[in-house]
Amino acid sequence: MSEEHKVYLKKIKKKNRLVLITQIIVFILFIVLWEIASHYNLINTFLTSSPSNVVKTIISLYKEGNLFKHIFITAYETIISFFIGTLIGLIIASLMWWNNFTARVISPYLTILNSLPKVALGPILIIWVGANMNSIIVMALLISVIITIINAYHGFSNTDESRIKLLKSFKASKWQIFTNLVIPGNIKTIFNILKINISMSLIGVIMGELLVSKEGLGYLIMYGSQVFNLNLVMTGIILLCCLSIIIYYIIVMTEKKFIKYY
């Protein structure tokens, strides 16, 4: 390796480190300013809460034995609706790819369902499914499934024509084209869908919890706001941030393990 190249690599490393350090500083600065401002009564902690209060709330939730219960409930609902939503979405998209007639029939309905704010269906779901965890899961599932179908079908139907031609020249059946080309060729699309779906499912779960639940982070936020305990609301939001980051990174790590050829 030449001296020049070493210098070049060092420079890039230094820049990357600088970005990371700045990111951390911004975060710490935000927390510290928030704490100082609340400590010296520059902001109304009744409305804004404060980092130390959030920590206290987390500790008291933990002592009551409720902290992990709420986190687990939300995570559980999210993961269940994420898996079911993704699976159903991918299956329907596959059927649409398989049969152009189906695709053409379904298309306009998808467009309508996609533009409909699913939260509007909340009251109906509560009546149909009941005021329980099931309606939360169904709500989250509805939100992720439509976008999954649209994105996956778009990816599937844009499979490279010349590659299809190649497989056909080997006398490939439609199923072989699907398993050897369409699915592996869309692995990136599928992972992008997973990433979108995680946040979609979380949105759905929180919306559902705001409407009906008796436990979960969404409930924590809703209950906190009803009794005007902003400490609880902020705690709920911060825990939610942590949860979504963790789930998101699990998917990113899986993707990195899965896709080796880049």
Partner: protein, 249 residues
């Protein structure tokens, strides 16, 4: 020489909402065993359509295609290098065998030895993204040869390569095809490529494609395609074919 394929009055029409397009009209030709035929013609004249029909991807509208044996295996090599980026060189080369259900120990060994013979042994487990354009094209050819085709169809197989690589790959492919004694039909818009590789050049008219002229290409000595380009005969053929095409522009 033995005839291996007979094409009689092949016709192809495409149908769209706006009407129908006649792509190929009364195309008749006989293909001898181990011959190398090049089809040239103005772009969009329907020359690729003929190959698509021969390998069964598209249906013909009329005419007959007669192979000298039942279930003739056809190897089709396409315009762009269509290696699948998520498969290693070996898996790409085995794709055809895997799909037509002929993947076994013997065919796998044969494919591996093809890869080694043609200088890709060190890359057998690499992904296509780490290969050069010429190497990728060679893998694509090996994939086509792996199914042990009776006839090889090359559809503008080198047109995505830059000029330099293209000449090299032409030499490569020519040598491999001669060594494996494969009957080949190549479609190209490059007159030079056709003259330097083929022993017969069919010139097509513009759409609907009809045979305008057939040239038997003969060089005094049998050398590589790039050597042939320096011969005087090359220029003579080039001029004749060029004039054939020019009239139709």
């Amino acid at each position: 020489m033995k005839e291996i394929l007979k094409i009689v009055k092949l016709n192809k029409r495409y149908h769209t909402v706006n009407g129908e397009i006649e792509a190929v009209k009364d195309f008749s030709f006989n293909v001898d065993d181990s011959s190398f035929i090049a089809i040239v013609g103005p772009s969009g004249c329907g020359k690729s359509t003929i190959l698509s029909i021969l390998c069964g991807i598209e249906k013909k509208s009329g005419g007959k295609i007669l192979f000298n044996k039942k279930d003739a295996v056809i190897g089709y090599m396409l315009q762009n290098d269509t290696l699948l980026p998520w498969l290693s060189v070996l898996d790409n080369a085995l794709l055809g065998l895997k799909i037509n259900g002929n993947l076994n120990k013997e065919t796998k060994e044969r494919t591996i030895s093809l890869i080694k013979t043609y200088g890709l042994g060190d890359f057998i487990n690499s992904y296509p993204s780490s290969l050069s354009g010429g190497m990728r094209q060679r893998v694509a050819l090996i994939r086509t040869l792996a199914i042990n085709p009776d006839i090889l169809l090359l559809d503008e197989a080198f047109s995505s390569l830059d000029y330099q690589t293209r000449l090299e790959v032409s030499n490569d492919v020519y040598e491999i095809i001669k060594k494996e004694k494969k009957t080949t039909i190549m479609v190209t818009h490059d007159i030079g490529e056709a003259i330097s590789m083929a022993d017969t050049v069919i010139v097509l008219s513009k759409r609907p494609a009809k045979i305008k002229n057939v040239y038997k290409i003969k060089f005094n000595d049998n050398t590589t395609p790039s050597d042939k380009r320096t011969h005087e005969q090359f220029n003579t053929y080039y001029k004749m074919i060029w004039e054939d095409l020019d009239i139709n522009v």
